[in-house]
Symmetry: C2
Subunit: 270 residues, 2 copies
């Protein structure tokens, strides 16, 4: 009986069919490769499964033999080729040890318009220039867990479909509607016009505790700035309200992922 899977055993790590999976640690190379070919990668059985269940089409799969059975039910109907390599060769292709053994290369879809993403949303996260993929993934995950319905990204925010974002976010980027705002300058006033109260997390003289800032707000847009510099002056002043998380005085502060989780928690209880 023929194998119903399109499995293709490969023993040469230089095989051109593996181009989608090259040098996963080389962030700059990956950025070009992924945007030019309209692809992104999912890593690990759970995340690969979520990407497919969310309707992303697979270009191909890459895995060690032992991962095949666990993913057969999603790989098979996808119709995409499944390249099977021994683990040491996968490491040679990707440039690192793939812990969870399975990778998928998937087609990017055109980003939806802002109005589609906001349709029916009551709680929205708005990220200005988060540059760290780990933080972007963590923000998506916390937002999804704590009841946020959508995410908007400023034009320079890091890519939520980058492998590391997807992995840290445990696939929340597939289940949470998101897009980029086309107009950085007027992004927040535009949200206000659409009926959202924009609350910026920032250390401004008129910032109030987050719990007070979100109290009584129906449609909420929680606005977060970059890891290093925080929000731009434009976004800070354009927000309807400014909020802080009360912290102990001194040298300590929360990192952006922790601050986001706390702010989402406070917002979820408004």
């Amino acid at each position: 009986m023929a194998d119903p899977l399109r499995t293709i055993e490969i023993d040469d790590p230089a095989d051109p069919r593996l181009a989608d999976y090259r040098d996963l640690r080389d962030v700059e190379l990956r950025k070009h490769l992924e945007s030019e070919h309209g692809l992104f990668l999912a890593e690990g059985e759970k995340v690969v499964r979520r990407a497919l269940e969310a309707g992303h089409r697979a270009r191909s799969f890459l895995m060690a033999p032992r991962w095949l059975d666990g993913l057969r039910d999603v790989v098979e109907p996808s119709g995409a080729p499944c390249y099977v390599l021994p683990e040491p060769l996968i490491e040679e292709v990707t440039g690192f040890h793939v812990h969870r053994g399975a990778l998928a290369s998937l087609h990017r879809r055109p980003l939806p318009p802002v109005e589609d993403v906001l349709e029916g949303a009551r709680s929205v996260l708005v990220l200005e220039d988060l540059v760290d993929h780990t933080n972007v993934g963590a923000v998506f995950r916390s937002g999804a867990a704590l009841g946020f319905d959508a995410v908007l990204l400023a034009p320079r925010c890091a890519d939520p479909l980058y492998r590391r974002s997807v992995k840290v976010g445990m696939g929340a980027v597939f289940t949470t509607p998101w897009t980029r705002v086309p107009d950085w300058y007027d992004a927040l006033p535009d949200l206000s016009h659409r009926g959202f109260t924009t609350v910026a997390l920032t250390l401004s003289p008129d910032s109030v505790p987050i719990e007070d800032a979100v109290a009584g707000v129906d449609r909420l847009a929680l606005v977060l700035g970059s890891e290093g510099h925080g929000l731009s002056a434009r976004w800070e002043s354009a927000a309807d309200r400014r909020a802080i998380i009360p912290m102990r005085a001194g040298i300590d502060s929360l990192n952006v992922a922790a601050a986001t989780a706390v702010a989402c928690y406070a917002a979820a209880r408004r």
Copy 2:
């Protein structure tokens, strides 16, 4: 005039005086090396400074020339040798690109007894078997920012003085009193005897929302389990109370660092 700094220029990355700084990415090797020699590393100007200000004695420093001036005021009085290498050679020694250019090797001190760490503390974090250094660092940082006074670690919890923990924690491990509990089995009953209410974050059938669990508690010990399996059955049942962070039903959950931040925030407002 003689240089008041004990700077020693080195041009051979194999120089034995650099032994403390070898192969920083090799976790297993580093664990042995650091415990056997009683040392730990601090990375980056801010963190090096905090380690010294917290009273840790330096064994030596390693930095590129351009970092020397910024740290002169703490390096000089330390009396420890300061090895100066061009950045590419530092990379050869350590095995990675040291972003913030300055490293210090410091003496570990004997861990204090539990009673010293708990002295005067009102809010304590208790970590069972967190195995990830990044998470341990993040927990220290969130705890410090949100008003926790001390941290206790189970015997198998990852080392908070490991370079990665120290870095992610932004040096909170230097300012927050911490130690290991000597007796895993009776760690939580022992805290109860000392007058703490132990609240375990866990998905147990009798878990209540974190806010309710900490309400009215004076001396609080917030208990966190490992990233993968959560708390052991022993610790889960030995805690005075069990608590959850209310989340949206479905596939999404918070990671341990985000959950800790939320729980600390809720606890800080009790």
